[in-house]
């Protein structure tokens, strides 16, 4: 087994005990990148070749020099007997939506193609302080606007290591693909409507969206400011807990980062699920969407394999002593996507105002008559289709004459969605849940190009994840099995405010319960036959 295939926990232990060096761990990760990643995303990618189609393409910018320097510092400290941080020497990647001083921070957009960050995002700074070693900035949907990572201006877009003809999910697709393929034990992602959990499900890794405010957003290029959550992508639950330990906590630079005390997320990890109440809701076993022709909500079943994976997970947890509570009503789940369409668009239209060609980033090279033309051309040339669509919709629904009808109404629906969770978790209520167990996605990873272009359909890939963003609660997604096509099947746990620890504990119990399952032995396709 290569060093890059060890868990962060194991690798950090070896490095701390000086059985391997941080530089050796880095070399292993760099070698893996050479083997499986292919060319990094670029604005002038040209044609996608058959060779490209076999590679992962997780990266936009590799930061080998910074990584070497960081790894050498770790080794030197260890040699001097200094106790390093908890993630000392562990290679990781950061979604290219985070500012990292001195690196290109593109958000996957042409409009930021020349933007070198002058400061470092708080979660990244905390990873640095913990001794983690940054391999680079990984690809994503442009400005995180998507669920497949195909919309990046930097092509080739990332591919799913389990089957490179399928998407890794998104928008943190570069993060989850990298972690799944051994290019860094960890990755820092963001989740606005499911952007950590959905690609983690597609790539068979563990993705955690913390409670809103648990992790500082400072330095994260904003999409939906009231929904955005930075969080860990890891290969197992313990690694996710270790990373959350590092990145969580209040931040004087983010007033929405809460001061609620941060527990040690690894402390109760092996506590088991005995006596915990875990709910299943029928509202998470069907896709409900608005039919534009009939004006009614239509329903479709979810993938039978995913349904089965969730049911089996419930059985395993029940065997471990959890109490499974069925038929928990979550009636507003079906409004999650339409509500998201309004709220996130209003926020993003405003958040993207600053990309105007004046201060940084791309500016039209064409001759211009006046300021207005500069704005129009810069934004027309610099933004891709997704940001444009979202700006247009955001402008529309926040216009003075429509705001009450759409935005104000969406805010009301949002509190109804939150109400569903409050009732389910109410310690004096009927259900008294510790967590809700749901599918992470309606289907396993879809083929490249299959859904891309259909914004509405693409968005329904987030139906089961987005309500957690509306409610602000934490959610964890992880692999619950493999499909016939050998694609990961994702399950999701949704928890109470600031109770990430419960989700991690349940997730860990599920890992223990399934450690001998045949699908646990399977590896992503791109790793087959590697020396």
């Amino acid at each position: 087994m290569e060093l890059c295939d060890l868990s962060a926990f194991e690798l950090a232990g070896l490095i701390r005990n000086r059985e391997v060096s941080a530089v050796e761990a880095l070399e292993s990760a760099l070698k893996r990148i050479e083997q499986v990643d292919g060319r990094s995303g670029s604005l002038e990618a040209g044609e996608i070749t058959p060779e490209d189609e076999k590679k992962v393409h997780a990266f936009i910018t590799r930061t080998e020099q910074i990584a070497r320097a960081e790894a050498e510092v770790v080794d030197r400290k260890l040699a001097e007997g200094v106790i390093p941080g908890p993630l000392a020497g562990v290679p990781y990647t950061a979604k290219d939506i985070f500012n990292v001083r001195g690196t290109l921070s593109t958000a996957g957009s042409k409009i930021l193609s020349n933007y070198e960050a002058p400061y470092t995002a708080t979660p990244v700074a905390r990873m640095q302080k913990a001794g983690a070693v940054i391999l680079g900035k990984v690809n994503l949907d442009e400005f995180t606007h998507g669920s497949s990572s195909e919309s990046s201006a930097y092509q080739p877009a990332p591919r799913n290591p389990w089957d490179p003809s399928t998407v890794p999910g998104g928008s943190s697709g570069g993060s989850t693909a990298a972690v799944a393929a051994g290019m860094g034990q960890l990755s820092l992602g963001t989740d606005t409507g499911g952007s950590i959990r959905q690609p983690s499900a597609f790539c068979g890794v563990v993705g955690l969206k913390p409670t809103y405010g648990r992790v500082s957003r400072y330095g994260l290029i904003a999409f939906g400011s009231s929904l955005d959550c930075p969080g860990p992508v890891a290969r197992n639950v313990r690694d996710a807990a270790m990373m959350l330990n590092v990145i969580a906590g209040p931040d004087p630079s983010d007033s929405t980062a809460v001061t609620v005390p941060v527990p040690d997320y690894t402390a109760e990890l092996e506590g088991g699920v005995k006596g915990m109440r875990i709910g299943l809701s029928p509202d998470f076993f069907k896709i409900q969407y608005f039919n534009h022709e009939s004006g009614e909500m239509d329903e479709e079943p979810i993938s039978a394999e995913i349904k089965q994976a969730v049911e089996q997970a419930a059985d395993r947890l029940s065997e471990m002593g959890a109490r499974i509570v069925e038929n928990v009503p979550m009636p507003h789940t079906k409004y999650g996507i339409p509500t998201y369409f309004v709220i996130s668009r209003v926020e993003v239209a405003s958040n993207l105002h600053r990309f105007d060609g004046v201060k940084y980033g791309y500016r039209t090279p064409l001759a211009i008559e006046d300021l207005d033309e500069m704005y129009r051309r810069t934004r027309a040339e610099g933004f891709g289709a997704q940001p444009k669509l979202r700006i247009l919709m955001g402008m529309y629904v926040s216009a003075a004459q429509y705001s009450a009808q759409y935005y104000q109404r969406a805010l009301k629906v949002r509190s109804l969605i939150r109400g569903d969770f409050e009732r389910a978790y109410d310690p004096d209520g009927e259900y008294r849940l510790d967590a809700l167990l749901t599918p992470a996605t309606p289907t396993p990873a879809f083929k490249f190009g299959d859904v891309y272009g259909d914004t509405v359909l693409m968005q329904y890939a987030d139906q089961f994840t987005v309500t957690a963003n509306h409610a602000g609660i934490p959610g964890l997604s992880m692999m619950g099995g493999l499909s016939k096509e050998r694609l990961p099947l994702g399950i999701q746990l949704l928890g109470r405010d600031y109770d990430e620890a419960a989700l991690l504990r349940i997730g860990r119990a599920f890992e223990v319960a399934t450690q001998d399952a045949p699908w646990r032995k399977e590896k992503p396709q791109v790793l087959a036959g590697l020396a």
Binding site: H353, R354, S398, Y407
Partner: protein, 476 residues
């Protein structure tokens, strides 16, 4: 002939004198600093940054709201006002729209012979934008001013003349300095005022179409701008024309107003609550701690000076023009304990001259209120004469020593010894036979000259009244 009245409302922007900006740690005051030197990722709108509210801004806003009799809101929040302009690096201004920090309020403005009740619509907190200018053949942007804290305070259309506009701004400026919330210097843009002006037939209650006067940077200029605009509107209406909702730009050099743009369509700023900031929750404890040392306000103090100390309005106005001066007066009055008007004269003439010369505030004087009282008491007791008393002010200010000590050390005490004065007087009479002759032949006014001589000989220490008595006797 129809009589018209003006209907004027003011929109003021007050730059707070906090140390740092409203949402970041940059220095707030950039007066005289080179462009783009007081900036950071937050106030220059870098991708990914977040605002963090400076509590001092809230505290100053609460002080001002209280002083304006406004209703401070327990919960207020910030909104985004979205628009594109190069001096607005985020593409939106963080301001308060739906639920501002304070609502309502008023100022009772004392005018010559009447009081104008000026109602306040609301006060809200917001960040300032930067500046653009043209140079080197291109548009240049200076972000120094981005994020400087402002309070926008809007009056109802309650002012009725250009004089009232000026009086309101003078009172507001006085109040802002009094509360130490702003330097309130219009020339430096600490206090900005746009005036909405319309006219109507006197006695009517309707509001006619108004024009908005912008970019005026002194109270005097705003007075003349408003005056000119009222005259123009009356002329237009009398000529049968209608007033259009123009925005008017003031040109300081030519002292004229010109049309900026017509205001037919309101821009849609797509306001919405800023998700990056928490609700500003002013609980009772915080509010109480802000208001714990809330001072008596200038207009109230002015009234009290008139009623309690029986000072003329003029004196009361001047003594309350500035907080530290009025505090000084009260302290000196306590120490003096005699006629407040006599103290007021000393303050308005001699102490204020000293303040002007030295460019100091009253609280910074080495002549403490107690020292001033001591000096006046010595003059009252004829221990020193008036001119010595006045020169003592400067000596105390220079040395920081007590007036009594200076008088002792320098031997400045007035000579009230008749014998000593008689000796000097006799010598002067003997040495000036010509003037003695003239005096005796009826030129009475020469007595002043003789007294002066005695004063000179005694190096100012002689009691002039005593000298006069002795001289009159010798010259009989």
């Amino acid at each position: 002939m129809i009589e018209y009245e003006a209907v004027i409302g003011l929109e003021t922007h007050i730059q707070l004198n906090t140390t740092t900006k409203i949402f970041c740690g940059c220095k707030a005051d950039s007066w005289g600093d080179p462009p783009n030197t007081n900036i950071c990722p937050v106030c220059s709108g870098m991708p990914g940054v977040l605002p963090v509210l400076n509590k001092a801004v809230v505290e100053k806003a609460v002080l001002l709201a209280k002083a304006m009799n406004a209703e401070v809101q327990t919960d207020s929040y910030f909104d985004r006002k979205n628009y594109f302009y190069p001096d607005l690096p985020k593409g939106y201004q963080i301001t308060q729209n739906d639920q501002p920090i304070a609502i309502g309020g008023f100022m009772d403005l004392p005018m010559e012979g009447y009081t104008r009740h000026v109602r306040i619509h609301k006060l809200h907190m917001e960040e300032d934008a930067g500046k653009t200018k043209t140079g080197y053949g291109r548009r240049l942007v200076d972000f120094n001013r981005c994020g400087v804290p402002l309070i926008e305070m809007v009056t109802e259309p309650d002012l009725r003349s250009a004089d009232e506009v000026a009086a309101y701004l003078i009172r507001l400026r006085q109040l802002l300095r009094w509360l130490d919330v702003s330097e309130a210097d219009m020339e430096k843009g600490h206090l900005r005022a746009d005036a909405n002006v319309s006219i109507r037939v006197k006695g009517e209650t309707i509001l006619n179409e108004k024009t908005e006067i912008k970019n005026v940077n002194s109270i005097e200029s705003l007075r003349s701008a408003v005056e000119k605009e009222i005259k123009r509107q009356i002329k237009e209406v009398e000529a049968g024309n209608t007033i259009e909702a123009w925005t008017l730009d003031w040109d300081e050099d030519t002292q004229t107003l010109s049309k900026m743009r017509s205001k037919e369509t309101m821009a849609d700023y797509r306001y919405f609550k800023d998700p990056d900031l928490l609700v500003v929750h002013l609980d009772e404890a915080w509010k109480a701690s802000i208001l714990v040392d809330f001072p008596e306000l200038p207009l109230a103090r002015r009234e009290r000076f008139i009623s309690e100390y029986e000072l003329p309005e003029y004196d009361a106005d001047i003594l309350t023009s500035e907080r530290s001066l009025s505090d000084y007066f009260e302290q000196a009055n306590k120490a003096y304990g005699e006629d407040p008007k006599r103290l007021s004269n000393w303050l308005m003439n001699d102490v204020m001259r000293l303040l002007n010369e030295l460019d100091l505030e009253a609280r910074d004087l080495k002549v403490t209120p107690e020292y001033l009282a001591e000096i006046i008491k010595m003059v009252d007791a004829n221990t020193v004469n008036t001119s010595t008393g006045k020169s003592l002010l400067e000596k105390v200010q220079q040395s920081g020593k007590s007036p009594k000590e200076i008088v002792e050390v320098e031997g400045l005490a007035q000579v009230s010894d008749t014998g000593a004065i008689r000796e000097i007087a006799a010598r002067i009479v003997a040495e000036n036979p010509d003037n003695v002759e003239k005096y005796r032949s009826g030129k009475d006014s020469l007595i002043g000259w003789f007294v002066g001589q005695v004063m000179r000989e005694s190096r100012g220490k002689a009691d002039p009244n005593l000298a006069r008595e002795v001289l009159e006797e010798l010259l009989k």
